[in-house]
Amino acid sequence: MKPGHGEVLIAEGDVEVAEEEELLVQEFRRQLDQGMWAAVPERTSAGRREARMVKAFGEIPRDADRVIFFPRAAGGA
């Protein structure tokens, strides 16, 4: 998510392909190093929609179709 732009595609690839997975890992780390939070939208077994916050690439479900990066929360005024 970007101010003034909305959704931006950062990287895409197949985690089953080693090279592409490596690229995704690098981009994931880069985003977190920039201070972004990462979340995976998912559907629970009960059918509810919710997000899973992830702090490491390994926490992302292998079948996840996307990870959304957004600026870290800060206490407002």
């Binding site: 998510m1 970007k2 101010p3 003034g4 732009h5 909305g6 959704e7 920039q34 201070g35 939070w37 979340a39 939208p41 509810r48 929609r49 919710e50 997000a51 899973r52 916050m53 959304i68 957004f70 600026p71 870290r72 929360a73 800060a74 206490g75 407002g76 005024a77």
Partner: protein
Amino acid sequence: MLLAAITIGVVIVALLWDLVLPSVKEAFERHKARREIIPGASYDPGRERRAEQRARQLLRSCVNEEEWSMYRDLGFIRVWGAMARVPRRGRIGDDPRAGAPYAYLVYPHKPIVAYLPQTSELLNEYCVEFPDETRPYGSARLPDSDDVLAKWMALTGDERRLIAMANMHLPGRQVDPKQVRRDLWRLSQWERERLRRAPRSPGEVPAP
């Protein structure tokens, strides 16, 4: 006589020159500054609107159908709280609200409002922002729907962390309690209407 007049004239011009020169210089500088081309991103009046449209699509793809309809129709999303404690038996004097289901109203670029759905009692305001300090287009502010989605993801993904990071205030500090109560009333009407329109299963008889 002529020489004296010329000398006086030269002196007058020299004195006037000293007086007028700074203001002439200043006017020239101002004129130059006004005409100077300032480098930077050209202003695109449609950019914010397109950003919001993209943000709405992303939000729609993440939340469920009810939440999306709620946001589209009412301008906010209700998120149920997941930290309600189960009240212990036989404890007199405990807060009777402990264990009661609670929820949040998530507005774009406004504090998150916590409340008790059963009584419509407002609990707290949680002031939280998601500023992007890289300011890609000169602003750190996400589009409205992205702000709602960020709150939704943070609340459903790690409610405890978000609430711990937010600045908590009593209701009414930034969001008018009258407006929140009106929104809760609108929400109840909206849900009633939605239930009424929901297709009934075969054999089900509507209540008289």
